[in-house]
Amino acid sequence: MATFAAFFAAEYGGVVRVLAALTGDLGTAEDLTQDAFLVAQRRWDDIAAYDRPEAWVRRVALNMSMARHRRLGREARALLRLRTHPVELPEPADEVWAAVRTLPARQAQVIALVYGEDRAVDDVAAILGCGVETVRTHLRRARARLAELLREEDDDAR
């Protein structure tokens, strides 16, 4: 059984990068990643026995990211209603990843894992807890939308 420290050292950076791509903010990505690893740390005895603990922690991190995104949206709506200053979301740091962040959450996650972490589709399916075909569908739709947003031709769509 791997130690938590080794697990953390091996996976931390990858998770941070994926979340940075999805949130557009490194600090937020670090926070979410550490939260995810805190959960893993608390349950390490169980998680270490999993076949894919790295997939598990990514799933937790992605769920946290999604929850945060929803919360920001609610807060922003509430603040607008209250006529106070709206929440300012981080400025996009990169055109491609900024476009990715406009996609539906699942599609964005698939893009981040496939391109950001260079993961195979079946690997992504394991992380997200869904089927391979589902991942392919998300990937196809995400690429089609990104092609529009980035004014590029979708090579796979030809």
Partner: protein
């Protein structure tokens, strides 16, 4: 081509530097959060009807409304945590929920407004932070200000009530504090407030002589586990920073002895730098082990390194440069540091806030051999403050809590000997009341097993007669 751009963006992402951190940083992160929660003010908590939350705020807070938006849960609330339980962790750093009420208006969705009390103002102003909590309006008693005033620490204090809950709002120095109680008469509550004020703010009160120049004792917080009280914690605010002291003993004489009086004891002898820098030097936390079960922290959180070094140098009677040199020599993010710094098992963090005992979810303790062990709060079966084998430390009064669940702490009047709690579908459990502080009333920790609903809490006298009864469903914590 799209694929080229995505591939290039992916490569750039993979090659992007990520700030160094380590698994040890997780421990620090958790502890830092917990420290923020108890920044300066203690709360005396209670269970009263369906009201189960009290928490106070840091002294520099003004005021804040935390409003719900559309009734949807704001955060990912674990399933056992029903609506009505608040998660302060989701508030902005340094902010704390203190109560809720319909006073001040409800949200358009008709759900209650939740606010945080702040310092130096009794106005409640909107604040651009929103927390969405689904709390049925019908469960929220309304705060009823009264015309009554009492003297606390020589200062007029206002009394208010929320359902069965009585508040005493008073000033301590420049701060507004609130002490709350249930099943207490006003005089007992006043005495408690007096005691809090005396301990925390009085010249010569606990902590006063120990503090560096410019530091002001803020307040005393009581720490406790379950059915007994196992320690105390103290927070002080000073110029540009805060200090925190936690103890694994509730023996004030012993604390004072360790801090100031024990012959040959070097005051605040720093055993080593406990934590290194976090996030490019954004935070340094030092810990001193003063004696058996007494630990002190100083954190640079929110202040500059220079200001922090000034504080530490005052404490240690060294120059800031000497302190900085030592900090720099100690590798950060190194668990081994813990092993060099402590020789006894001590709970790293054991404050409770607002009726819920916010133990660190994960905390670190060492056994006598310096072997590190990670303990988890109730939930893992390991009770904080106890060695892994469950043997009580520091006296036999400590008993392991049950394995999981939240628990609240009740402040009770002197004639209450036990609390009998009937959980839905379960046998009644009887919790003894402990009286750690003369004149402060009794304190009992009442556990709420995960998913359990409290139907009735009875306050019973020593002869078993019922002195008071709270009918549920009652939310603890």
């Amino acid at each position: 081509m799209l694929d080229d751009r995505l591939t290039t963006a992916g490569v750039a992402l993979r090659e992007a530097p990520v700030p160094e951190t380590s698994s040890a940083a997780l421990d620090r992160r958790r502890r830092a959060r917990q420290r923020r929660r108890v920044a300066t003010v203690a709360a005396i908590a209670l269970v009263a009807g369906s009201v189960g939350l009290i928490e106070l705020t840091r002294p520099d807070a003004k005021s804040v409304h935390v409003v719900d938006e559309d009734g949807a849960p704001e955060v990912q609330v674990p399933a056992p945590k029903a609506a009505g339980q608040l998660l302060p962790a989701r508030l902005p750093d340094g902010w704390h929920l203190t109560g809720w009420s319909e006073r001040g208006g409800s949200s358009p969705a008709g759900n209650p407004t939740i606010w945080v009390y702040g310092q130096a103002s009794e106005e409640y102003t909107l604040h651009p932070y929103a927390a969405v909590l689904d709390i049925p309006s019908s469960t929220i008693p309304t705060v009823q200000p009264t015309d009554e005033t009492v003297l606390v620490h020589g200062t007029p204090a206002k009394i208010a009530s929320t359902g069965d809950l009585r508040h005493i709002n008073f000033r301590l120095g420049t701060r507004n504090l609130t002490v709350l109680g249930s099943l207490l008469d006003d005089e007992t509550l006043r005495q408690f407030a007096e005691g809090v004020a005396a301990d925390a703010g009085a010249p010569g009160g606990l902590g006063a002589s120990w503090l560096p120049d410019g530091f002001t004792p803020i307040l005393l917080a009581v720490s406790g586990y379950g059915e007994t009280v196992a320690g105390r914690s103290f927070d002080w605010a000073g110029p540009g920073g805060s200090l925190h002291l936690s103890t694994a003993t509730n023996d004030v004489d012993r604390i004072e002895q360790l801090l100031w009086q024990e012959p040959g004891t070097e005051i605040l002898r720093r055993k080593g730098v406990t934590y290194g820098r976090r996030r490019q030097g954004a935070e340094i936390t030092l810990r001193w082990v003063i004696g058996d079960g007494v630990t002190a922290y100083a954190s640079s959180e929110g202040i500059s390194d220079d200001a922090f070094l000034d504080i530490v140098s005052q404490l240690e009677e060294r120059t800031p440069a000497e302190v900085a040199d030592e900090i720099d020599r100690v590798p950060s993010n190194d668990n081994a540091m813990f092993q060099r710094t402590v020789s006894l098992a001590v709970p790293i963090f054991d404050d409770w806030v607002g009726g819920r005992h916010y133990l660190a979810d994960v905390f670190l303790a060492l056994d006598r051999d310096g072997k590190e062990m990670l303990c988890e709060r109730a939930g893992s079966g390991t009770s904080c403050g106890l060695p892994r084998d469950g043997t009580p430390k520091d006296g036999a009064a400590l008993e392991p809590l049950q394995a999981s669940g939240d628990f609240g702490i009740l402040l009770l009047r002197d004639d209450v000997a036990t609390l009998a709690v009937r959980y839905r579908g379960q046998a009644t459990r009887v919790y003894p009341v402990v009286r750690p502080f003369a004149g402060y009333g009794g304190v009992a920790g009442v556990a709420q097993p995960e998913g359990a609903t409290v139907e009735v809490i009875e306050a019973r006298a020593a002869d078993g007669s019922v002195l008071g009864r709270l009918r549920g469903p009652v939310t603890l914590g």
